[in-house]
């Protein structure tokens, strides 16, 4: 089974290099990656994720708005019957914010300097646990 991932950039953050790097790495790892570009609203992200039936939503945010935007995406996903989708995040996110984000349902946060392989291994591990691969 091919793992499908939505790489999303919520809000007004204009830095997309990280998202593109992770998208390429995921493609090289055999994933199908849907990238919807910059300036996505939580509703657009959830709509794309559920329409494409992705296994993972990977959000990249460097603007500091993660505490408001990440939970909003989770909320929209739940509303659109996408509550079963694995949600991870990356970008400029202080360590102190991570526990709260995880409590709300973000499975893991990958901070700058994390090798892309770590992200990919995490996804594969969870997919294996869910019996998908």
């Amino acid at each position: 089974m091919t793992i499908r991932v939505l790489v999303a950039k919520p809000g007004l953050d204009g830095h997309d290099r990280g998202a593109k790097v992770i998208a390429s790495a995921m493609r090289d790892a055999g994933f199908e990656v849907i990238y919807t570009g910059l300036r996505q609203t939580p509703e657009q992200i959830a709509a794309a994720a559920t329409a494409e039936d992705v296994d993972v939503v990977a959000m990249s945010l460097l603007s500091g708005a993660h505490n408001s935007l990440f939970p909003r995406v989770l909320e929209c996903l739940k509303k659109m019957d996408g509550g079963d989708i694995l949600v991870i995040g990356g970008g400029v996110i202080p360590e102190s914010d991570i526990p709260n984000l995880k409590k709300q349902g973000i499975a893991e946060i990958f901070t700058p300097g994390t090798p892309t392989s770590a992200v990919i291994e995490f996804i594969k591990k969870v997919m294996a646990e869910r019996g998908k691969i």
Binding site: A23, I34, Y35, G37, A47, A51, D81
Partner: protein, 329 residues
């Protein structure tokens, strides 16, 4: 097929028939990953299909297909139509992965109630489409899409699957993509029912149109539909209403000339023969296990100690003999 799976499929199909987006997306995933599932689902939804009009959009990478698809879809929505979009991108032959980037041009459609979008990788199939495209089109058809746009991988010289699958095929060209010879290579332009020169705001657009017109003059027209050559600037939406009108004209021509029926008949025939072959093969392989036998012989064949063509002939004959005698291996 076990009963849980069967019930699950029925549940999803019920959702598809009332337009539930989550059911649609989940069912597509199911059929994308399992080829036997495709046949089963196709069988169950068959009587609910056959209504949608299928438009194929193809052209080299960078010609603006996704942007054009998005703009066309918006025009269709404005006319009260429900639209399905299948956006196909190439899968890496090495990793099997893919970047499915067509949606990036269609962000303003993400929240539209009457638009269904699915991005797919080619997953190893040549020809520009993936094995799951036809069933995805059928699923969109069953959830009552009026028009389904299939946007394919940039057409090279061998990627003409789209012409067989679509009712109307658009071939998109753009100015500045290298010398004229690129376009004349057989197959690309011949499959177009409508030829579009996109990015018409750029230098050289008119020259591309002239070249296409010249080629048309030199070419033998096989039917009495002469593919119109239209200019568009997808980014601004210029020329898109006219393009949609041309598509409707082609549809009318197809219905009046009987071309629609005969093409669909050809398509169905090809699909069914393929299905027959696969079903026969699966059954025979299960019974006679020739793939396992072959695995043991490949070395002999590569080192020229055994002739593979003889092996095929002998294997087929022996299977037939065994079936006649009612024996099982």
């Amino acid at each position: 097929m076990n009963t849980t799976l069967s019930a699950r499929i029925d549940e999803l199909i019920d959702g598809v028939l009332v337009g539930n987006r989550r059911a649609v997306s989940r069912l597509i995933t199911l059929v994308e990953n399992d080829s036997e599932m495709r046949e089963e689902v196709a069988r169950r939804i068959f009587y609910k299909t056959g209504n949608a009009y299928i438009i194929g959009i193809t052209g080299l990478p960078g010609s603006g297909k996704s942007t054009l698809t998005g703009k066309l879809a918006k025009q269709m929505l404005a006319k009260g139509l429900r639209v399905g979009i299948v956006a196909v991108d190439p899968s890496s032959p090495f990793s099997g992965g893919a970047i499915l980037g067509d949606r990036i041009r269609m962000n303003d459609l993400a929240l539209e109630k009457d638009v269904y979008i699915r991005s797919m990788g080619t997953r190893g199939r040549l020809g520009g489409l993936s094995d799951a495209v036809e069933i995805t089109v059928a699923i969109f058809d069953a959830c009552r899409c009026d028009c389904i746009i299939i946007e394919t991988v940039g057409v090279g010289q061998s990627e003409v699957d789209i012409a067989e699958t679509a009712d109307t095929t658009l071939v998109i060209s753009v100015p500045g993509l290298g010398d004229d010879i690129q376009m004349i290579k057989a197959g690309i332009l011949e499959i177009g029912d409508i030829l579009v020169v996109n990015k018409a705001d750029r230098d050289g657009a008119v020259q591309v149109v002239t070249m296409l017109e010249t080629m048309q003059m030199l070419d033998e027209i096989h039917t009495d539909w002469k593919p119109p050559i239209l200019m568009t600037t997808a980014e601004t939406g210029d020329g898109v209403p006219e393009l949609l009108e041309a598509i409707f004209q082609h549809r009318i021509w197809r219905e009046e000339s009987g071309a629609k029926v005969s093409l669909r008949m050809q398509r169905l025939r090809k699909e069914l023969i393929g299905l027959l072959c696969r079903s026969f093969y699966r059954q025979l392989q299960e019974r006679f296990h020739f793939e396992q036998e072959l695995d043991g012989l490949l070395n002999e064949m590569l080192s020229r100690r055994q002739n593979p063509y003889d092996w095929v002939r002998d294997t087929v004959n022996s299977c037939i003999q065994k079936i006649k005698k009612g024996e099982e291996k």
